[in-house]
């Protein structure tokens, strides 16, 4: 009886929570404070720079190799590798990395004939 109870408790800890302990992405997930630096240029308005801080999180997505980096102001999906390398999808053309299990940096850029726009995101786990 005692053995069964211990096994049950172990199962609860291993499978009872949302975060999958067998998934390599788990160590990077959580709530983050992001610092976002947006920089853009076009011939009409010239250079535009803004930096702000926003709360957000990093979470699983259904694709087993990707994470969703999101906040009220942006939402990005990127492939994450075991060393923390981040590779953006075609629509955000981004790259970056988890520098540690608590720090992230990501850059995505958009370029068109009449200008360009770049976002530099850094974040620290709360």
């Amino acid at each position: 009886m005692k053995t069964k109870l211990i096994l049950l408790i172990l199962c609860f800890f291993m499978f009872g929570c949302k975060k999958n302990p067998f998934d390599y992405r788990t160590k990077y997930l959580g709530d983050y404070i992001f610092v976002v630096h947006n920089s853009s240029w076009n011939p009409t308005n010239g250079q535009f720079d803004t930096t702000y801080t926003v709360d957000g999180n990093v979470d699983y997505v259904s694709d087993k190799n990707s994470v969703l980096i999101s906040s009220p102001t942006f939402s990005l999906q990127a492939t994450v590798y075991e060393d923390g390398t981040l590779e953006g999808y075609w629509n955000n053309n981004g790259e970056g990395e988890f520098e540690s299990t608590k720090k992230i940096k990501y850059h995505c850029g958009y370029y068109w004939p009449g200008g360009q726009s770049n976002s530099y995101i850094t974040g620290e786990k709360k």
Binding site: P21, D83, G84, T85, E87, E95, T101
Partner: protein
Amino acid sequence: MSIILATYVSYGQDTIRAKAHHSKYQFSFLVGGFYKSFFGNRYIKPTTFELGDSFEQHQYERSIQTPTGGFKFGALVDIRMAKHWYFTTGMLFCYRKDIFEYNSDTVKKYNNISYTRNIHNVLTYNYAYTNLEIPLMILLKLKRISLYVGANIPILSYKVANYSYIIRQSYYPISYGTSEKTVKNLEVPFKIYPTWLLSYSFTLPKHTLEPFIGMDFGARKSFFIQGGLIFTMNAKQCTKTI
């Protein structure tokens, strides 16, 4: 002097064995070291990349695995099932390493080296695992010889992964540099190490010493040659009789 010692040891062996034969549980401590080696070539041959394959399936291809050392220690309990037959379990701390090394020219040839460090331009994967492992083994005891066959199952692992990268420093003239990164994490691994151990027991009045040799089997044709000591406590104090 040697006659006295032989008599003393012989008396101890008989006493312990008589007690041990009637006990259901036998507790012991294990301490040992191991050397990781490989069956055949240490080079991991590339396989054809097919649509839908994940990066992980081909991650270590074209690398060379490096032999490493490690150690283990912990407690074991032998549960008597039948005459000569026992089920052995317990808890072991194991330190294991996995190293995959690439030739820098190979990385440059097959990967698109960028200015930033990323997994596509890794030169060396150096993993160190400090594992909490549960051994699940069948034990056959024949007089002084014991044969353990089963598996060690890691349930928790403190993984330190060190990556070294080759990065582009300039395009014209083309030049490269290196970079490094370490990721530490506590994780639940999904691994099993099949194992066997062979020991020979020397019985003293209050303890039994069993030097052992054995082998754990790992992934990618690796195996761990191991040796050490199993130290069994006084049967009277540490066993529960049937």
